[in-house]
Symmetry: C2
Subunit: 210 residues, 2 copies
């Protein structure tokens, strides 16, 4: 990869069409290139990374371009990390109205996450309570041991996420890792959970193909 | 909840409109009610559960109705559990073309899940490799300790999932738990991961509000 490129090369390098790149520039998701002639600008590796980040947010994370912009603005505003996490999470996650939840589902989740430093309005807590509610509506009991394993696994992953963020050299790249990790981490865990279920089910019940 | 109901009561009980219920009946997602008069049928608690399951698959899992039907057909066909898991997973997960992956990303995932009884075509393995690829494209290095924590957490959750399935009394309700759990488990983990990140980040960096 060359480190200074024209817009056509940026398009080739990232697989994003010229129209898409121009749209990102217009909407302020991508910083302007360096003007090299009256009608020409050059772009850098930072632009390549940013385009891949926008793609991760919109294609993998399912964000609208306006929401991706909100997250990217948060990255660029030198916020403390706790706030950057919060904005990334609130944008990526569907907001759950606390009024739509029954008390039983909330207290089930509160027992599973007892001792965590969570605000009552924590969006993860409310979203988790809604899942419990939907689970029960579908006729499925939730078991406290099952929920405890999910909570333990979530803590393990959250610690690893924060450790990864701390390996980054500066605030801007830490914030980038927060945002990309928030979106792609969900997809990574869901994928590994499927492989682990397949492996565990072969271990317990044997391989149906053999 | 009454245990035998007319279609209008089924609608009230589930919040699904009459048109939706008739559509599910027509498409074979919902078994026909018991004929009680030439132009009337009655429905049972099993119908209520089934409607909530269809809703979980389509609203939370984002499945098309035709895909939800495929999963429900699998439940009703007395398959071994390993196969029921496989069908639920293949339907819920986006298929990743192995040709679209680079060898580096695949070998990174293979190291993380070394020793798991996974087929090379395992959809979770391929989906995880794609996430690693997207992560790197977005300029983010993946760290082997980070991936190892995800793999360990996925094993913990998969064991809990299988344990939950084994508490169910018969094959039909086990298959139901597989399907509902495959879809809602992703949402539950993602929600708890957010809460755990918030809690861990307050623990490490303090609360920005205070």
């Amino acid at each position: 990869m060359v480190s200074i490129m024209k817009i056509s090369e940026l398009s080739l390098e990232t697989g994003a069409s010229l129209a898409t790149i121009k749209y990102y520039l217009r909407e302020g998701l991508l910083p302007a290139g360096e003007r090299s002639a009256p009608n020409q600008a050059t772009y850098s590796k930072a632009h390549v990374r940013r385009i891949h980040m926008i793609r991760a947010l919109t294609d993998v994370g399912g964000l609208a371009v306006s929401d991706a912009k909100r997250v990217i603005d948060a990255i660029e505003s030198d916020l403390p990390l706790t706030r950057a996490f919060e904005i990334a999470q609130r944008t990526v996650s569907e907001q759950v109205d606390p009024e739509s939840l029954d008390d039983d589902a909330i207290s089930t989740i509160d027992s599973a996450i007892a001792g965590w430093a969570c605000e009552p309005t924590d969006p993860g807590r409310l979203a988790a309570a809604r899942v419990v509610m939907n689970f029960r509506k579908a006729g499925q009991g939730t078991d406290s041991g099952w929920l405890a394993s999910y909570a333990e696994a979530a803590q393990l992953v959250a610690k690893a996420d924060l450790d990864l963020v701390e390996t980054r050299p500066d605030l801007a790249s830490r914030a980038e890792t927060v945002v990309v990790g928030t979106v792609l981490g969900d997809a990574l865990f869901a994928a590994l959970r499927r492989s682990a279920q397949a492996a565990e089910s072969v271990r317990r019940y044997g391989d149906p193909e053999r």
